[in-house]
Amino acid sequence: MVKPARNQNPEDLRRPPLTVVGDRQVRTSVRGDRVFRWSTLLCSLLVPLVMLAIGLELLLSSWPAVKQFGWRFFFSQEWNPVLQQFGAASSIFGTLVSTLIAMLIAVPLSLAIALFLVELAPPWLSRTVGTMIELLAAVPSIIYGMWGLFVFAPFMADYVQPFLGKTLGFLPLFQGPPLGIGMLTAGIILAFMVLPFISAVTRDVFQLVPPVVKESAFGMGATTWEVTYQVTIPYGLVGIIGAVFLGLGRALGETMAVTFVIGNAHRISASLFSPGNTIASTLANEFSEATEPLYVSSLVALGLVLYLITYLVQVVAQMMLRRRYRAWSVGL
């Protein structure tokens, strides 16, 4: 994107224009400009303020739980509203595992899609396919949930999980009854949800590689794959990492789709077939029913953990991407 040259000296612009109107009117326009400038500044400060306010509110509201449980909160698996015992371990574990599954599937898939869009497909096909992939990002989370619960989970239970159990069943990961809902299904649906984000940014990263660099490799007789593997990917590596982190942030906080298919059980199990939960799904399921102050406070503490994790992930993504890439600015 071309950034227009900034006006070098803003003072010049504030100087009253040489018009024949009276002195008073000129000064009003100067004052109008000042008011305008300051009000836009205030609005643009609103976003950092909101970020800060979210963090502070979460910290304040989660304080009773933090005080009550201390570090045990993070390591205890017990989640018992009746006995007022709360531990975040199973939610944090579930968040990390489902995100890991999602990234393991989504990253190779999105890189391949980006490669297809930039290097392999003719322009008309690339535009059509690119738009369709981006539309995957526009489908609301809850629709993924509906599809996941009523269509994809039965599909997993009938075909994928029995197959995995038969072939890889010697691993504890793939043992247990094929319920359909559970960690694995949630991870796969998450992968489909973050795929458009990663592939859109990666596509931009690939497109920013100067054609001269690629052409010189082609000129030496390299195949498309060799150019991609040895020129494009190393050149855009930082951007690709940024794209992956962007997807990671999305996967960590994704709520509704996961809530539908993960099974919502407060326990840690080795099998990916068994139900679990994530921070976001616990919040979605229990928040509106929580009445005890300590219960609410524990839930907010879970939210605080999620806030901090996604904040860190976003910071890394930001540092990697800077302002160079276009796709994620257009609402993606």
């Binding site: 100067v30 970020m51 490669l115 809850i142 993504a317």
Partner: protein, 283 residues
């Protein structure tokens, strides 16, 4: 240098090409699978009653979700009213006045971070900020949460779109004696109009399918939508509640609502893209 045999390299290239094509097909397949499922299961729920009547208890046939439709429109509208002026102004500062200042950098950075903030966290924030002090669930809290989610989208697109406007346009207006605010609002905004509308449409599309921030702010309600000051019926939370219920007729309603939401969001998104593309073709 030792030359590697060409056949192996060509085969590797072919394999990667096929694999990449297969991955792209997978993505498209998933999209159409979801759309097909939503369409085929949702169409059965659409009838005149669906658009005109209140929900019925399970087992009682008929009934509709007109209250939830009204509530979703009100929540989205309220959020848009809050977020659009703020987002536009913030974008104006970043594009026109920030001059790469420190403040501008912070704001831009936070905008990007807020864009990736999980919507449920924003919901928790609105809950602690509005619902707890008021002591009841209300639509305003939901609209506030949605507005916070819209804000970064509008700010970013506004900045990008304003930066696309050539500086000569600004300079000629300034040379005619127009004050800076007039240049921005009357000249630059007009030049960037379709881009700004795109940003707003994308933000609306993003939040109108949101469920998580409404779960414990606007909640839901089986009654007529009256005001945002009380629990507000809305389509997405209704989908969640009905889908999780064991009653087939409620699940059928959930599919109908899913159909409305999905195609509403997709149509807005495609419209926004179309506007942007048309504008780019002009140049």
């Amino acid at each position: 240098m030792k030359l590697r045999p060409a056949t192996g390299r060509r085969l590797a290239n072919l394999a990667v090409t096929l694999w990449a094509g297969a991955c792209a097909l997978t993505g498209i397949f998933i999209l159409f699978w979801i759309l097909y499922v939503v369409l085929s299961r949702g169409l059965g729920a659409l009838n005149p009653a669906f658009f005109t009547q209140l929900p019925t208890p399970p087992g009682v046939s008929g009934g509709g979700l007109v209250n939830a439709m009204a509530g979703t429109l009100a929540l989205t509208g309220g959020a848009t009213l809050m977020a659009v002026p703020m987002g536009l102004m913030a974008g104006v500062y970043l594009a026109e006045f920030s001059d790469d200042s420190r403040v501008g950098d912070y704001s831009r950075f936070s905008t990007n971070v807020l864009m990736g903030m999980p919507s449920i966290i924003v919901g928790v924030f609105a809950y602690t900020l509005v619902v707890v002090p008021l002591g009841r669930f209300c639509g305003y809290a939901g609209a506030l949460a949605l507005a916070i989610l819209m804000l970064p989208v509008i700010t970013r697109t506004t900045e990008d779109m304003l930066r696309l406007v050539p500086n000569t346009l600004r300079e000629s207006a300034l040379a005619l004696g127009a004050p800076r605010w007039k240049v921005t609002l009357a000249i630059v905004f007009r030049a960037a109009k379709s881009g700004l509308i795109t940003g707003i449409l994308l933000a609306v599309a993003r939040v109108s399918g949101e469920t998580a921030p409404l779960l414990f702010t606007a909640l839901n309600s089986p009654y007529w939508f009256r005001s945002l000051g009380e629990p507000t019926p809305n389509l997405t939370v209704t989908i969640f509640n009905y889908a999780m219920s064991p009653y087939p007729d409620w699940q059928q309603m959930a599919w109908g609502a899913s159909l409305l939401i999905t195609f509403g969001v997709l149509i807005i998104t495609i419209l926004a893209r179309f506007l942007l593309r048309e504008k780019n073709d002009d140049r």
